[in-house]
Amino acid sequence: MSRLSDHNVILAKEIIARYPKKKSALIPLVHLSQEQNGYVTEDAMRHIAEMIEVTSAEVYGTASFYEMFRFEPTGKYLINVCGTLSCALMGGDALMHHAERTLGIKAGATTDDGLITLQHAECQAACTEAPTLQVNYRHRYRVTPESFDQLVDDLRSGALDAEIPAHGTLGRNRQQIPADRAVGAQHPDDVTGGPAWIEVSPA
C-alpha cells in the first residue's frame, strides 16, 4: 500500500491549502510520500497527481529533477559523504574510501540488511567543519575513520533513533498554521487590491 495513508491525506490537504495554486504543493507532498514509504513509489505519485490535479507524468517529471527523491527502496539511513572542494581538501575522498570498506559496499549501494545506503554528495554548507557527511540530512562534522565507525555502530544499535528519524522524514516537527490566525492563500485570481495596511494609490 503505497498511496498516501488516511492520516497523510489530511496533512496533504492542509499543505495544499497553504498555496495559491495546488501544484506548488507537489514537492512537499512527494516528500510526505517518501517519509511514509522510505522512497517515492509510482502509486504515491499517482495519488499526489490526483490530489493536486496534474498528471502523474508531471509529478514524476518534477520529482525526478531533484536529488533527494529516490525511486527505489533505500536504506533506513542514507549516508551522504561530501566530495566538494573544502571537504576534498580535508580528506573527503579518504573518508569515502573508508566508508566503502567499512560498510562493504560501493557508493550508490545499500547494505544487505537494508540498513544503510551510501552515496557521494555535494556541498553540504558546513565547509568549515570538513570533511562532513549527512545521515538522513543530519550533519556530522570533521568526520574521522574512528568517528565514522562509531556512527555506524550507533546507527546499528539504535542509539541515534531519537535524533535521526528513518530516511524520508524531513523534520521531527511540522509547521502548523492555527486556523484562527491563518490569513489564507492569496490567489492571483481572488486578490486584486492591495493589503489593508498599505495606502493604495488608484491604479
Binding site: C123, T128, V191
Partner: protein, 474 residues
C-alpha cells in the same frame, strides 16, 4: 590520517562560529545555545524592530531600508530597498520568497542563521512584507537542511501562537501568512527564477530575464520579491536602530556587516561576521581574529575568494581589500561570502576537478552550452587527473570554455607567470551562472598552474613511449 590541528568553535550548536571584537548585527544570538527559541529572542530585543516598523507607515519603513543601502547577500549584491521598489504600481497580490537554498560550494552562513536565529529571519521577512505591501510569504529552505527545517518550523509555530504572524499582527491591520516550503536538492534553485519555478511545483530551471524580473513577473506571474536569508536577517536591526546606526558600520557603498566562511587548509576555519570594508584577504586568512593562517605552518598556494563559482586568487592577491569592486578589478568576485584556501600540498588539477564535477552535475539542462559543455569539461578534467590526458585535451578545455564564456575569461595576475589580471565579469551564453561556474575553476587552475597539467600530460606521453615487447619473458 594525521591528527587534526584545527581550532574547534566554543559553541557546538553553531559549528565554525567565532565571535570577535567586532559589531554583531546578524550573529548576536549565536552565543546562546537557546538563541533559536522565542523566549531568548524576546529577551534580547526580538520583535522590537517589527513593533517599531508597525508604528510607521509602510512607505516610511521602505525609506529607512532604502537609506540603509542594505545590499543583497545572495551573491549579486543588489540594494534590497531598490529591489522592493521595482514592483509595478497597483498590481496585487505580491509575494515574498525567502531564498534559503544556500548551496554554493564553500558557502556556509544562511544555514547557521536559520538554525541559530530563526526568529530574526522571520522578523526580517515580516518587516519586508509590511514595507513592500506583500500579500503572502514563502520561506524556501534547501531540502538537505533538516535541522534548519525543524528550527524554522518551531519558530514559525511559536510566532503564530504569540501573534507575530497571521491575522492582525500585534493588533494592527498588518496580516500575512508565512509558509515554510522545502526544496529537494538542486543547486540551481538558488537562482531566483529557478527558485520560483520550483515553488510552482516545476523542475527548477531558470527563466529568461530580462525582459521580466521577478519583481515585475514572478511567482504565478505576479510581482515577487526574492531575498536571501542573510539580507532579511539584517532588517530587524535596521528597523530597531534606524538606518543611521546601520550605515555607521561598514563603508558608504557597502554598509553593515557580512558573514564570511573561510574553509580549507587554515588553522581556524570559521564563519565570521566581518564589518564591510574593514578587512583584506590577508586579514581573513592570516588574522588572529579570523582563520589564523595556513594549517601546520604550510605555505598558501591559492584561494577561491567568493564561492566555487569564482575565479581563483594567488598569494599575489592577498592584500586586496575584501570588497566587490576591488575583487572584480583583480579578476574575480566576492559572490556569496566563501573563501576556500588551498595550501602547498594541494593537487591543483584534482581540486579543480571537484568543482567542475559539481557544476557539471548541477546543470539543469536548459541551456546547451552548460548542459553539454559542463559535462564535456568534467570528462576531460577527470581524464587528465586520472593520467590519461593529452595536450589536445588542454586546448579543448579553452575551446569548450569559449562556447560558455566567449571572449577573455577573468583571471588573477601572476607575478610568477608574468600574467596581467583580466577583470570580472565574463560574457556568457547561458541564462544563469551555472555554466560559467563550471568553466571558471578549471580556467583558473589551468591558467595559473599550467605546469601541473603539463606534468600529468607528460607522464602519459612517457608511458606511451615505452615500446611493446614482442618476446614473451621466460
Amino acid at each position: 590520517m594525521s591528527t587534526d590541528s584545527r581550532v574547534v568553535s566554543p559553541y557546538p550548536w553553531a559549528p565554525g562560529f567565532y565571535p570577535g571584537d567586532r559589531p554583531e548585527i546578524v550573529t548576536s544570538r549565536f552565543q546562546y545555545e537557546d538563541g533559536h527559541t522565542l523566549e531568548r529572542y524576546l529577551a534580547t530585543g526580538g520583535y522590537e524592530g517589527l513593533r517599531s516598523a508597525l508604528g510607521k507607515s509602510p512607505s516610511d519603513v521602505h525609506e529607512v531600508v532604502r537609506n540603509s543601502t542594505l545590499l543583497g547577500r545572495g551573491g549579486a549584491g543588489f540594494p534590497a530597498g531598490v529591489k522592493w521598489g521595482f514592483t509595478p504600481q497597483g498590481v496585487w497580490p505580491r509575494y515574498l520568497v525567502v531564498n534559503g537554498d544556500e548551496s554554493e560550494p564553500g558557502t556556509y552562513k544562511d544555514r547557521l542563521l536559520m538554525e541559530c536565529d530563526p526568529h530574526q529571519l522571520i522578523e526580517g521577512s515580516l518587516i519586508a512584507s509590511y514595507a513592500a505591501g506583500l500579500s503572502q510569504c514563502f520561506l524556501y529552505i534547501r531540502g538537505e537542511m533538516a535541522l534548519a527545517h525543524e528550527r524554522v518550523a518551531q519558530a514559525l509555530n511559536d510566532a503564530y501562537a504569540a501573534g507575530y504572524i497571521g491575522k492582525n499582527i500585534l493588533g494592527t491591520d498588518f496580516s500575512i501568512d508565512i509558509v515554510l516550503h522545502w526544496g529537494a536538492g538542486a543547486y540551481v534553485v538558488g537562482e531566483e527564477t529557478a527558485l520560483i519555478e520550483s515553488l510552482e511545483g516545476e523542475r527548477g530551471m531558470p527563466r529568461l530575464k530580462p525582459p521580466f524580473f521577478p519583481a515585475a513577473v514572478g511567482l504565478y506571474g505576479m510581482p515577487t520579491i526574492v531575498n536571501n536569508v542573510e539580507t532579511l536577517s539584517n532588517l530587524p536591526f535596521i528597523a530597531r536602530e534606524g538606518s543611521e546606526a546601520y550605515t555607521a558600520i561598514g563603508t558608504e557603498t557597502s554598509p553593515g556587516t557580512r558573514m564570511i566562511a573561510v574553509s580549507g587548509h587554515v588553522s581556524r576555519p570559521g564563519v565570521y561576521e566581518i564589518v564591510n570594508g574593514s578587512t583584506t584577504f590577508r586579514d581573513l586568512i592570516y588574522g588572529d581574529d579570523f582563520a589564523r593562517g595556513i594549517r601546520d605552518g604550510n605555505e598558501l598556494k591559492a584561494f577561491v575568494p567568493g564561492g566555487g563559482s569564482a575565479p581563483w586568487f594567488l598569494p599575489d592577491q592577498l592584500d586586496i581589500p575584501f570588497e566587490g569592486p576591488a575583487a572584480g578589478a583583480a579578476g574575480s568576485m566576492l559572490g556569496s561570502g566563501a573563501v576556500m584556501v588551498m595550501d602547498s600540498t594541494t593537487d591543483i588539477p584534482a581540486a579543480a576537478l571537484t568543482l567542475v564535477k559539481f557544476y557539471a552535475h548541477e546543470s539543469c539542462g536548459k541551456c546547451v552550452p552548460c548542459r553539454e559543455g559542463g559535462t564535456w569539461l568534467y570528462r576531460i578534467v577527470e581524464r587528465i587527473v586520472a593520467g590519461h590526458g593529452t595536450d589536445a585535451d588542454l586546448e579543448t578545455i579553452f575551446e569548450v570554455g569559449q562556447t560558455i564564456c566567449p571572449g577573455e575569461m577573468p583571471h588573477a595576475s601572476s607575478e610568477r607567470l608574468g600574467l596581467d589580471a583580466v577583470p570580472f565579469p565574463y560574457k556568457m551564453t547561458t541564462i544563469c551562472f551555472v555554466g560559467p561556474s563550471a568553466y571558471a575553476p578549471i580556467h583558473s587552475a589551468l591558467t595559473l598552474f599550467p605546469e601541473e597539467f603539463d606534468a600529468l600530460v607528460a607522464k602519459r606521453a612517457e608511458r606511451r613511449a615505452i615500446p611493446v615487447t614482442a618476446e614473451v619473458p621466460a
